[in-house]
Symmetry: C2
Subunit: 486 residues, 2 copies
């Protein structure tokens, strides 16, 4: 029952026959139906994509799933105060503050939770006592002055505290505390004017807040803890590795050794470029964390930020380097060949140094190999510079083969410098990258190694198994070979 324009709609009449509906009506209904179907499909599609993305996000980092479960568990635990009578009778009606504390204070990392908990407790105490004190003064200065004294003190304290949040140090460490300070001060000072049992209320509120914070701290520290310090400790070397990989891929691309995989990793340096904010955030939280794993309480987290900054400086260079790739085809192949091995050497040795530094950071052990790797890089720089020195000979297109033998130097023409410019600036950017690695990255990692007292590398390999020994001998032979080549 279908014609070319779509499905026909018919209705069965009372006498058993059926009547085909008019095409005009059909089209109207069909259009509405299609439209609705399209809307529903699109909606379902978008919701599906959203959930797919969310699921991938969680699968990518299961710690995020655990965090959500932890929040649920903490809330359930604190709501037990309400659900079961005995507990309820103990803490009274302000158990609501315990719930609120859990919701507001529970953060992804232990450091974040501790930062908020400690800020909340200290600010509540401070503001509470201050409010009680000023309330006492106000109540002794006559009933008619009381609202004015309270009002003016509220205005002044709120303004001053709000202003202090603009100061970078306060913002980084006590921002949440400032909010809670204003909140508590205004609540207590206002309630103080209305409610008689002020001390009782204050006691109740403080005790419930302490219950909430303790619950949060315990949950976040005991159940699958996510330490901000550890996250930072993992992020920094991960970004360094990405930079090394990018450098490798960029140079491989320039000399035509690129494949699909390297094209993907080429832009890994961007992670380092954009990591500043999250690094600073993690370092801020990490300072609140107690000793955990291999980190002491006063682990020098600031040094990690310095390494991050120096990595970014390398990443800037690589970013500029990638833009040379656009003009790589301008350079004549013969000239490219001349510098290729030196460039590749320098790249390999530079990325080796970065990787070695990343290993130093992630294993928290000084490296025996790092000095050799740096020397290797320096030698590669010299090698490239030497090759650059001999480049002009290549550039001169000798006219010896020509028949006419004239004396004038006018005959000696040169390949246009402009053609080799991309290569020259590529090479000089590589040298600059190497110098940034040496001057910034190596230095900042050394500073961290000093201030965090990294372990000394194990003394020269006391061979336990044959297999290991073989490997080490091989590695040393390679090192010797490198030295001899240099």
């Amino acid at each position: 029952m279908a014609n070319k324009n779509g499905v026909e709609w018919s209705i069965r009449l009372g006498d058993g026959s059926s009547k085909v509906l008019e095409p005009e009506t059909k089209h109207g209904v069909m259009r509405l139906w299609d439209c609705l179907k399209g809307l529903v499909y699109r909606f379902v599609g978008r919701v599906w994509t959203f959930f797919k993305k969310a699921w991938d996000l969680g699968v990518d980092d299961p710690k995020k799933f655990f965090h959500c479960l932890k929040v649920g568990v903490a809330l359930l635990l604190v709501s037990l105060f309400y659900y079961f009578r005995p507990l309820y009778d103990g803490v009274g009606g302000s158990a609501i503050w315990a719930v609120m504390t859990v919701v507001v204070v529970f953060e992804y990392t232990v450091g974040g939770t501790l930062y908020k908990c400690l800020n909340r407790i200290c600010a509540t105490f401070l503001a509470g006592f201050l409010a009680l004190g000023i309330h006492w003064i106000a109540s002794h200065s006559g009933h008619q002055f009381e609202p004015y004294i309270m009002g003016i003190s509220l205005f002044l304290l709120a303004s001053a505290t709000t202003f202090s949040r603009f100061i970078p140090v306060v913002k980084a460490r006590y921002d949440y505390g400032c909010t809670i300070f204003i909140l508590t001060y205004s609540l207590v000072s206002i309630s103080g004017y209305r409610v008689e049992h002020l001390l009782h209320i204050a006691h109740e509120r403080v005790s419930t807040i302490i219950i909430g914070t303790c619950l949060c701290i315990i949950t976040s520290m005991v159940v699958f803890p996510v330490w901000a310090g550890l996250e930072l400790h993992l992020l920094i070397p991960r970004n360094m590795d990405k930079i090394a990989k990018s450098l490798d891929c960029c140079v491989a691309d320039f000399f035509g050794h690129d494949d699909e995989e390297s094209k993907k990793s080429l832009h890994g340096y961007k992670c380092a470029l954009n990591a500043k904010f999250s690094e600073e955030n993690m370092a801020n939280f990490a300072r609140w964390e107690p000793a955990h794993g291999r980190f002491n309480f006063r682990h020098p987290w600031k040094n990690y930020l310095k390494i991050g900054t120096s990595s970014r400086r390398c990443a800037y260079c690589i970013e500029t380097l990638t833009s040379c790739l656009d003009s790589k085809n301008q350079v004549p192949e013969s000239i490219k060949k001349h510098l290729e091995s030196a460039c590749m050497n320098l790249t390999t040795s530079s990325s080796n140094v970065i990787r070695e530094l990343a290993t130093v950071v992630s294993t928290m052990t000084k490296s025996r190999k790092i000095n050799m790797a740096i020397d290797d890089m320096k030698n590669a720089v010299l090698e490239l510079q030497n090759d650059l020195k001999t480049l002009p000979d290549l550039l001169i297109q000798r006219h010896d083969d020509k028949e006419e033998k004239q004396v004038a130097s006018s005959e000696v023409t040169m390949m246009p410098l402009i053609e080799v410019m991309p290569l020259v600036s590529f090479a000089s950017l590589l040298i600059e990258t190497a110098s940034r690695i040496e001057e910034n990255m190596v230095k900042t990692v050394e500073e961290l190694a000093e201030s965090a007292k990294f372990k000394q590398p194990e003394e020269d390999v006391k061979p336990k198994r044959n297999q290991t020994t073989n490997k080490i001998v091989l590695a040393d032979e390679e090192n010797m070979a490198v030295l001899q080549r240099v």
Copy 2:
């Protein structure tokens, strides 16, 4: 009464004579005194420095002072609900929620305040209704199941909402709403189990929250408003100007035309490098703001972010450029002289383009001059490339003046390319900067101009005053001169 070691301490005895204290005692006391004095001085010094810095911060940007006063005023206004009986009787005991709303919701920018207010209101409504609905279901499924249904729903919703905060879009737009959703849901669902007058409480709470948010919105929009959109609109061209200034200073420094002032502005580009987070923040807040000044409700704030990104790409280049300054003295003066004028030209025209683009953004008016400025820059690139092409002739140290006239080209030695490398890579970085300006900055500013429907430039100057006319004629003459030179 002082000896060389310090002030002598003496005590007056009962008979009127005085006894000088023993030096040993003196020294002990003196040391303690000095120590104390030092501590107090240091403490006062640090406090003084802190306040000095804070004061400078405020003087530097008086809007911050105003913001603090606004917070104080808003808190005072809301506390009037408590201080004066008539109002108190109207809104009841949960006026505390109005105070809390003001403290938590009041942000520096109008957009920030609106974001928090709208999130708070919507999340409160949504969570409130959901909690009431589930509470109704639970209460109809038997008394023994009620806590389990409420507990499980709380656990599931809290976990899911917490997870959604990891999704970037949700994080950027509804982060605060998620917190409030969990908070309200847990409060209402828990109170629901205990308190009979649930609807009454819900109504009271919603009305006080609305009072608080309205107060915040009005205060932040009427009294010295700080619009996130306007701040972003000012920040972007300011950073572009800084980049232009940095570029000028960097090149001036390379060719030895630097002075004290230019050394200061050399690192201005760093502001652009570090502005990513605050730009994104402002754009996020700006999308909540109503039409204000020259901006409509749906002003394309995203395009500002694109301009920010393209500015940063230029800044990366300039960052690499500054590191060429270390090796500027390697380059022989004669060679430097050869490229100086072309480099300076390119720099001037590049920074002109950047400044012109900045003016386009800040005045929201398309520019008549921009195309000419871009052509100017392109021509300067060609000029520099030409000069680079003739560079090799300079590099060949001609031996014509020597006595021996031999034919071989072996005689034609070259100045080592390595010496001019800093200059060559400097020039190629300049060219790269120019291409980034043209490909990224110009394009993103044009996109903004299109989507925000920037005004057309005024038709050719109908001279009103003689002075103006003169100036314009002069400017046109200059333009002609540029064109002719090209």
